[in-house]
C-alpha cells in the first residue's frame, strides 16, 4: 500500500523547470531515498508534498489526502526536518517540542510523555532544559527529528538530514533514522547527496535536473549497471576460465594475469567458484558497484563533482556565514 503517491508532478519557476513529470510511489513503512545533485529539484518536490508550494501541474497525495486540495489532512499526517534548521534558538529543547505539540494539538495528557519519549529516543533527554543555541549541529538535527515525530506522523520527511555534519554525527543520526520505521511505524522520505548513505534505503529514486532518471532498490540499481565483478588469480588461468564458463554459462575475460567475470550476485557465486576451482586459486577479489557508480553511469558525472550552480554556492555561503556567527 503506497502512502505517498506522486503523479506527473511538475513545478516551474518561469523558465526554470525545477521538477518535471515526476511520478513515484512510496510504500508504507519503508525508507525512501530521493537522490540527486544540487539543484536537482529535491527540496522543491518536498515542499510540494508538504503543502508549502503549489505544483504547476500533476498531483500528489499522502495517506490518501491530496497535497493540493486537502492540505490540512496532509499536514496532520506528516513530520518534516527541513534542509535548513527551523528551531527557535532562544527556547530550550523541551520548549521547542512543546511549541510543536501545541501546534499539532497533541492531547494534553499525552504531551509531556510524547515529548520526553522522543527526546529520549534521540538521546537529548539530559539536555532538554538547555537553550538550543548551545547545541551542536548534530544535536539540533536530532532534536528536529524528535520534533517531527511528536504528533505520530505517517510520513517523516528528512531533507538532507546529515548535511554539514561530521562523519561521526552522520553515522549517529543514521542509526536513529534506520530505526524509525520499526520503532515508530513511520515511513521515511529522505533526500541526500551522499550516495553511500542511501544504501540503507528500501527504495531509491535518482533525480537529475528535475526528472527521475532511475528508480528501484539499491541492489536493483546496482544490478542495472552490470552487477558484481569477481577477479580470480589461479595457477592456470586458461583452464580455470573454461571451468568457470562451464559452471556459470558466462564468458570470463583474462586480463593482466587475472580472470574477471561479471555476475549477478557475487556473494553467493564466489564460494561455488572456489569449490570448483579448488587448490588452483591464488587470490580472489569481489568488486560490487556502488550507488556512486550507478549515478556516474546514468548521468556521466560523479554526484559530488557536479558543478555547483551559482545559487547553490550562494546558499552554502549564507549557511556557513550563519554557522560562523552561531545563528544557525
Amino acid at each position: 500500500m503506497p502512502v505517498i503517491k506522486i503523479n506527473n508532478l511538475s513545478k516551474s519557476y518561469g523558465e526554470i523547470h525545477a521538477v518535471r513529470n515526476v511520478s513515484l510511489e512510496v510504500a508504507k513503512g519503508s525508507i525512501f531515498g530521493f537522490l540527486g545533485p544540487n539543484g536537482a529539484g529535491k527540496t522543491t518536490t518536498i515542499n510540494i508534498l508538504c503543502t508549502l508550494l503549489k505544483p504547476t501541474s500533476g498531483t500528489a497525495s499522502i495517506a490518501g489526502y491530496d497535497c493540493n486540495t486537502e492540505s490540512s489532512g496532509v499536514r496532520n499526517h506528516i513530520g518534516i526536518v527541513f534542509q535548513d534548521t527551523t528551531l527557535d534558538k532562544d527556547l530550550t529543547a523541551y520548549e521547542n517540542l512543546l511549541f510543536h505539540a501545541y501546534l499539532y494539538s497533541v492531547k494534553r495528557k499525552d504531551r509531556k510523555k510524547k515529548i520526553e519519549d522522543s527526546l529520549e529516543f534521540v538521546g537529548l533527554y539530559e539536555r532538554r532544559h538547555d537553550l538550543v543555541k548551545k547545541f551542536s549541529g548534530g544535536m539540533k538535527r536530532r532534536l528536529e527529528v524528535a520534533r517531527g515525530l511528536i504528533h505520530d506522523p505517517e510520513v517523516l520527511f528528512l531533507d538532507e538530514p546529515t548535511l554539514g555534519l561530521d562523519p561521526q554525527s552522520r553515522s549517529n543520526l543514521w542509526e536513529f533514522i534506520t530505526k524509525l520505521p520499526e520503532k515508530q511505524g513511520v515511513t521515511v522520505f529522505m533526500t541526500t547527496h551522499y550516495m553511500e548513505e542511501a544504501e540503507v534505503c528500501d527504495q531509491i529514486a535518482i533525480i537529475d535536473r528535475g526528472s527521475i532518471i532511475a528508480q528501484g532498490t539499491p541492489n536493483e540499481l546496482k544490478k542495472s549497471i552490470g552487477g558484481d565483478i569477481i577477479y580470480i588469480k589461479t595457477s592456470d588461468n586458461e583452464k580455470a576460465a573454461s571451468d568457470i564458463e562451464k559452471l556459470l554459462n558466462l564468458k570470463p575475460t583474462i586480463k593482466n594475469g587475472e580472470i574477471y567475470v561479471t555476475v549477478e550476485r557475487g556473494d553467493t557465486c564466489l564460494p561455488e567458484l572456489i569449490r570448483t576451482l579448488g587448490e588452483s586459486v591464488l587470490s580472489v577479489r569481489l568488486q560490487r558497484p556502488t550507488l556512486n557508480d550507478v549515478f556516474l553511469q546514468l548521468t556521466g558525472k560523479q554526484i559530488r563533482d557536479v558543478e555547483i550552480s551559482a545559487g547553490a554556492t550562494l546558499k552554502e555561503n549564507v549557511r556557513s556565514h550563519r554557522r560562523k556567527f552561531g545563528r544557525d
Partner: protein, 252 residues
C-alpha cells in the same frame, strides 16, 4: 480547538521570550522614559506657560502611545526574523490556518505592549498626574486596542520583507513618521495641511487622542470625540488584521 491551541502557543512563546530577555525589557522601557524626562523635561521650560499644563504632562499620553507603537511594531516584525531563521516554516506546515497565525501574532504583540504600557502608567504620579481606577482601566483598554491595531499593521509590514536588513528603512519611513504625525509631541492642528492630512489617516493619532481623553481629561487637548477615536481604532484593526490574514496566505 486546534486553532485555539495554535493562537495560545504563539502568544506563550513570545511572552516567554520577552520575559526571558531582560535586556530587551529594559531597553523597551528606557526609550519612553528617556523621551519623557529628557525631551519632555527639557521642552517644559520653553512651552509650559503657553499651554496651561506642564509640557511633560501634555506629552505623557503621547509617550504611552510611543511605547505601544514600538512594542507592537517590534513584536510583529519579529516575523521577519522567524522567516530568516526558519521557524516560520515550522509554523506554516503545521495543521493550522494562516489566519490563526496572524491572530496569535497580533495578540502576542498586543499583550507585550500592554505589559509595557502598564509599566509606563506607573510613572504617572512622578510627573504629577494622579489617576483614578476608572481612568487606569480606560487607559489600559485603549492601549490594548491601539496595540492590536498597530501589531496587525506590523504583520502587514513583515510580510513584505525577507531579511532584517530592511529594519532601519521600516524605522525611518514608517515608524518615526507615524510617531511624529500623531499629535504625541505637539498638537497636529498647527501643522501644514498636507501633514495634517497624513495625521488623519494615521491610526496612532486616534490612539493618542483617546489616551489624552483618558489621562488628561481636558478637552482643550483632544481633537476628536472618544466615540470617534474608538470607532476608528476598531475599524482600522479589523481592516489591518484582514489584510494581514490575506497577505499571509498569499505571500508567505
Amino acid at each position: 480547538m486546534a486553532e485555539i491551541n495554535a493562537v495560545y502557543v504563539l502568544i506563550a512563546r513570545d511572552l516567554k521570550k520577552f520575559v526571558r530577555e531582560k535586556s530587551r525589557l529594559l531597553s523597551t522601557l528606557a526609550r519612553p522614559v528617556i523621551w519623557l524626562f529628557l525631551v519632555g523635561g527639557g521642552m517644559s521650560r520653553l512651552v509650559s506657560d503657553s499651554m496651561g499644563m506642564p509640557y511633560i504632562q501634555f506629552i505623557f499620553p503621547g509617550i504611552l502611545g510611543m511605547t505601544i507603537l514600538f512594542g507592537s511594531i517590534f513584536s510583529s516584525i519579529s516575523i521577519i526574523w522567524d522567516k530568516e531563521f526558519g521557524l516560520m516554516k515550522e509554523i506554516l506546515v503545521a495543521p493550522v490556518s494562516r489566519f490563526s497565525i496572524v491572530i496569535g501574532k497580533a495578540l502576542s504583540g498586543s499583550l507585550i505592549s500592554l505589559l509595557q504600557a502598564t509599566m509606563i502608567l506607573l510613572i504617572s504620579p512622578i510627573i504629577g498626574i494622579d489617576l483614578g481606577l476608572q481612568q487606569i482601566i480606560y487607559a489600559l483598554a485603549v492601549s490594548f486596542l491601539l496595540a492590536f491595531c498597530i501589531s496587525s499593521l506590523g504583520i502587514i509590514i513583515a510580510t513584505f520583507f525577507e531579511s532584517f536588513e530592511s529594519f532601519s528603512a521600516i524605522m525611518n519611513f514608517i515608524v518615526m513618521p507615524m510617531f511624529f504625525l500623531s499629535g504625541a509631541m505637539y498638537p497636529v492642528q498647527k501643522l501644514p495641511d498636507i501633514l495634517k492630512g497624513v495625521s488623519k489617516v494615521n491610526p496612532l493619532t486616534y490612539g493618542v487622542d483617546a489616551l489624552k481623553h483618558a489621562l488628561l481629561q481636558d478637552s482643550r487637548f483632544t481633537d476628536f470625540s472618544i466615540a470617534m477615536d474608538i470607532g476608528v481604532l476598531i475599524a482600522a484593526s479589523i481592516i489591518f488584521v484582514s489584510i494581514a490574514g490575506y497577505l499571509f496566505t498569499k505571500r508567505i
